[in-house]
């Protein structure tokens, strides 16, 4: 305060002026150092990610071919079933997960009386979200594969894997969706009600469309985690993929995914071409994720346009 007030005063003592200049110089240096640190950190992270991606694409792109995905040969250089299983299980798990998570989030935000019950529910969801996936994997093994698998109802299957993925990711999607709905300004809710909309119409026509971009982000995050999941699937989806009829939509087929294949190749060995196949699979996973996310974004964007009437 006093330094500012004294600025430009001709009678200022030289000692005070020097002290002030030294203070300013120190502040300037600190500012530059911190700017450098932040810059360095973000560039470092960016370069690291870029390096990993380029490295993997460099190793893997040459392996990927139409034959790599579709054609079975004696050496096992073939991952069509796993690609299909990965896709199939993510879609199946999302189809189960999204309605439950969105409904529960709507209930928590719009209907539930905030109190001990909702607090416990949120705490449980947050805790469940942090449980190591191998634990839920073993739980899924116990419930879906062993108990429900009696009499070969389920066993190691795409369905068992998808259900385990749902358990694993439901808490995250629930919490992200809840935050997305809570972020919709209350004024919009009031505007809708003041025009004679009931609660359901307000949720359906205002809350959900307004929250759509944030909800989409939640789904993409969830899908990413699902695609990458391995530990929870080894004991539920199984380590085998039937080569005959892998394109079958039967949810009770065993469903080795790309990530499980990657694990098996490393853990059990996969013949002379193992490393090459791993490179190819890793690259496929990255491309897969990219296509899936872009696809979801595109769908959400188109939906948003339709709902808002903006052309």
């Amino acid at each position: 305060m006093s330094a500012i007030a004294g600025e430009g005063r001709a009678t200022q003592a030289p000692a005070r002026r020097d002290a002030r200049q030294a203070r300013r110089a120190r502040a300037r240096i600190a500012d530059r150092v911190m700017t450098g640190v932040f810059w360095g950190a973000s560039i470092g992270v960016g370069l690291l990610l870029l390096y990993i991606i380029i490295y993997m694409l460099g190793k893997g792109l040459s392996v990927i071919s139409w034959d790599f995905v579709t054609k079975y040969d004696a050496s096992g250089n073939y991952v069509g079933a796993q690609v299909f299983n990965s896709f199939y299980m993510v879609v199946l798990a999302l189809l189960i997960c999204i309605p439950i998570a969105f409904s529960a989030a709507i209930y928590l935000v719009e209907y539930a009386r905030q109190g001990i019950f909702t607090t416990i529910l949120r705490f449980a969801a947050d805790t469940l979200a942090g449980i190591p996936s191998i634990i839920l994997g073993l739980f899924g093994f116990l419930v879906f594969v062993t108990v429900l698998g009696t009499g070969r109802f389920m066993g190691y299957s795409r369905l068992a894997g998808a259900l385990t993925l749902v358990m694993l990711n439901l808490p995250l999607l629930l919490r992200v969706s809840e935050d997305a709905l809570r972020a919709v300004p209350n004024e919009l809710r009031e505007a809708s009600m003041s025009l004679g909309a009931n609660k359901f119409k307000t949720i359906w026509r205002v809350m959900l469309p307004t929250a759509l971009p944030a909800l989409t982000t939640g789904v993409i995050l969830t899908a990413g985690k699902m695609i990458g999941e391995t530990a929870a699937l080894i004991f539920t989806a199984g380590s085998s993929a039937p080569v005959n009829g892998w394109f079958s939509l039967d949810p009770l087929y065993p469903g080795q995914t790309l990530t499980i294949l990657l694990f098996n190749l490393q853990a059990e060995g996969g013949g002379p071409n193992a490393v090459q196949i791993q490179n190819g699979v890793a690259t496929l996973l990255i491309l897969f994720l990219l296509v899936f996310n872009l696809g979801l974004r595109y769908l959400a964007g188109a939906l948003s346009k339709r709902l808002s009437g903006v052309k």
């Binding site: 919009l188 009031e190 505007a191 809708s192 003041s194 025009l195």
Partner: protein, 280 residues
């Protein structure tokens, strides 16, 4: 004047906490659209509106003024039961619309809110196109053809004095409009469902003077067809737009009457102090 006091405390210090017998000062000499008697609103323990009685005259503008926190918005929101949405809010007393009680449990709130529309302090268009915003109230009712929708949207925008500015971009996002345009869009949105009464909660308080002027001109036109109740803390605005004025202080209705009377010959010392700028 002592610093650090809230408006309420300052008001109490200046005037004491005397209650007013509002019942005999709230009648109007005109056809009554809405009749409010002995209205009380509580937020949990807080008693926000205390025994307020007001007649709202048909096809006239009734202004509700007072310092911040005096309860005027709370009063307004009781008129289309927006308090139903606030957890912990409780309303007692009587409010009638065309002689029928609207506070009862059996009242169709959806129907009530279509008859008593609302414009909020901050323009709150939906993140939809201009067209979809105005058509919203009709679409949730359902049963309108595309042609009918277009006609009503145009008529509503014309009545809100916005049509000429947006007719070429009805499909653009409402959020691309300026603040004043957004507020007129919200008025058009309220008009589209053909309300009988329009409640306006400080509709111009977030706007610049020119946009404010446009809203006031609009209110002037709208009162030919609609009954309007407007909350404002802007004295000049109350004086310019309204036929009747109520003055609120700490949840009490201090004085109510014809605006010209209130501003030229206030009966209550507190009203006089407020309109002469001694506080608020």
């Amino acid at each position: 004047m002592a610093e650090g006091l809230t408006t309420d405390e300052r008001a109490k210090e200046l005037f004491g906490t005397g209650q007013t017998d509002a019942a005999n000062i709230s009648a109007v000499n005109a056809p009554v659209k809405m009749k409010v008697s002995d209205l009380n609103v509580y937020y949990g323990e807080a008693h926000a509106i205390k025994n307020v009685s007001i007649d709202i005259a048909e096809r006239e503008v009734t202004a509700l003024m007072g310092p911040s926190g005096c309860g005027k918005s709370t009063f307004l929101r009781a008129l289309n039961r927006m308090h139903d949405l606030t957890p912990g809010a409780r309303v007692t007393g009587n409010v009638t619309l065309d002689g029928e009680n609207i506070l009862g449990a059996g009242v169709d709130v959806v129907d009530l809110r279509q008859r008593v529309g609302m414009v909020f302090q901050r323009a709150n268009p939906f993140p939809k196109s201009i067209f979809e915003n105005v058509a919203y109230g009709l679409k949730i009712q359902g049963g309108y053809s595309a042609g009918e929708l277009r006609a009503i949207v145009q008529r509503s925008l014309e009545r809100a004095a916005l049509w000429d500015e947006v007719k070429d971009r009805l499909n653009q996002s409402a959020l691309s409009l300026s603040g004043g345009q957004q507020q007129r869009l919200c008025i058009a949105r309220a008009l589209a469902v053909e309300p009988e009464v329009i409640l306006m909660d400080e509709p111009a308080s977030a706007l610049d003077p020119i946009a404010t002027l446009k809203i006031e001109e609009l209110i002037e036109q709208l009162k030919q067809n609609y009954t309007i109740a407007i909350v404002t803390h802007n004295l000049q605005q109350a004086a310019r737009v309204s036929k009747y004025t109520g003055f609120f202080l700490t949840g009490n209705l201090i004085e109510f009457g014809e605006t010209t009377e209130i501003f030229s010959r206030p009966r209550d010392k507190r009203t006089e102090d407020f309109i002469t700028g001694r506080f608020g």
